[in-house]
């Protein structure tokens, strides 16, 4: 049963991730999409195939949902572990979202944290902060994604526990 729990979590996580990628393929101009995904772009401003106004926040939802589950399926299926995973991803996701907020941007300007000759990783973090905006709906999407992932973790872990007792 444990294998099934992990498999369900893995498949759900991967599916969530694929849906997140799909938002970028359908609703983002290719020049804003990194790597090979930009070659798969189906973006068309006038297309009827679109996630509409949800496209702005769905990636946050799917990302949190999928990575909670992908990490969960690699660790022991206990309530404590699940909570730790959830707390970790919530911290990471919300921290990155807050970094796009004005106070943090102002702080970066004041301290000149990112120099022009910063390395590859710092340059990309700088681009992430400068090109993005803090969005409360993203935070809501993150919380929803985490909640859904946690429920799925609980359901699958519970089944595993019942199996062990039986």
């Amino acid at each position: 049963m444990e294998k099934y729990s992990r498999l369900i979590q893995f498949i759900a996580g991967l599916t969530g991730f694929m849906f997140g990628v799909l938002v970028y393929i359908i609703d983002r101009p290719p020049m804003y999409v990194p790597g090979f995904v930009s070659n798969l772009s189906l973006y068309n401003q006038d297309s009827v195939i679109s996630f509409g106004s949800f496209a702005n926040n769905l990636p946050s939802f799917f990302h949190t949902f999928s990575f909670c589950l992908l990490l969960s399926c690699m660790t022991s299926q206990t309530k404590i572990k699940n909570t730790q995973i959830l707390a970790f991803w919530l911290f990471v996701e919300i921290s990155f979202e807050l970094m796009q907020g004005k106070p943090f941007k102002d702080w970066l300007v004041q301290t000149q944290f990112f120099k022009e000759n910063s390395g590859y990783i710092l340059r990309n973090i700088s681009a992430f902060i400068n090109n993005g905006f803090f969005d409360t709906f993203d935070v809501v999407a993150i919380l929803l994604g985490a909640t859904l992932a946690y429920l799925l973790m609980l359901i699958t872990s519970k089944e595993e526990k019942n199996e062990k007792i039986a």
């Binding site: 804003y32 790597g35 401003q45 990490l71 996701e93 902060i129 993005g132 905006f133």
Partner: protein
């Protein structure tokens, strides 16, 4: 052998977890990838005229230090060129941009920013960004509210007006002369103003249709103006306002 298997299993699990965490963080950072600056997008072969489907620049009435944000979407998708005081920035067909407060502060009080779609005969939008460095006066017109007679609303959208801008005084510019339909007699009527919980009062002949505020009142928001006749000395079936909706001059400065 069993121990070796256990160690290998643990290592594999740690490596898998590390990869997932790394992938997770990398994909977050990549989510706002804007493409390297030297990327030349493939030119669009179609010559169809591109327009701004969405464009907003805010706040356009700002205080020193405040960043101004822009958002745009072009249709059909074409790259754009942003021009601000001689500076040129190339951007994609859809995006956001922040004009940093410090940069804007180095320009004059009024600076024009132009958004031009990078093709022949395509859409161009211009915005004026005004920086308040002392007392400034802005004139705004009231829009008639259809459900109430002689009640007007002046909308100063918070997105457009920096929330640091405060109003020190308001003055009715027009109309100041009121006559009743089919009559040439002028009447002394009051204008009642109201800004929700912030303030309310009267603008009339006695105070020169002008009101000063001793406490801080945020400029942005909805201001309501209505004709009132407190003494009910004269009832008129329809006031002639000389076809003018009220225009109000706001005296504002930064907090």
């Amino acid at each position: 052998m069993k121990r070796l298997h256990s160690i290998a299993s643990k290592l594999l699990r740690t490596a898998s977890i590390s990869i997932v965490v790394l992938l997770g963080v990398t994909t977050i950072i990549a989510s706002n990838f804007n493409g390297p600056s030297n990327t030349n997008p493939t030119p669009d072969p179609s010559n169809s005229k591109s327009v701004f489907k969405e464009i907003s620049v805010y706040p356009t009435k700002r205080c020193p230090g405040t960043d101004v944000r822009a958002h745009w979407v072009t249709s059909p998708a074409k790259n754009i060129i942003i021009k601000l005081a001689g500076q040129t920035i190339e951007k994609g067909p859809r995006g956001d941009y922040v004009f940093m407060g410090q940069d804007l502060d180095s320009h004059q009080n009024i600076v024009e920013v132009e958004f031009r779609i990078d093709c022949n005969d395509c859409d161009v939008k211009k915005f004026k960004i005004q920086t308040s460095r002392g007392m400034d006066y802005y004139k705004s017109f009231g829009a008639s509210l259809r459900d109430v007679n002689y009640r007007y609303r002046v909308i100063l959208p918070p997105k457009e007006w920096d929330d640091k801008l405060v109003t020190h005084n308001i003055e009715l510019s027009k109309p100041k002369i009121y006559t009743c339909s089919n009559s040439l007699t002028e009447h002394n009527l009051n204008w009642h103003y109201n800004k929700g919980r912030d303030s309310s009062g009267f603008l009339n002949k006695e105070n020169g249709f002008r009101e000063s505020f001793s406490r801080t009142i945020q400029t942005s928001g909805d201001w309501y103006f209505s004709i009132s006749s407190p003494d009910n000395e004269y009832t008129c079936p329809g006031w002639e306002l000389n076809t003018y909706n009220p225009s109000i001059i706001f005296g504002v400065s930064c907090q």
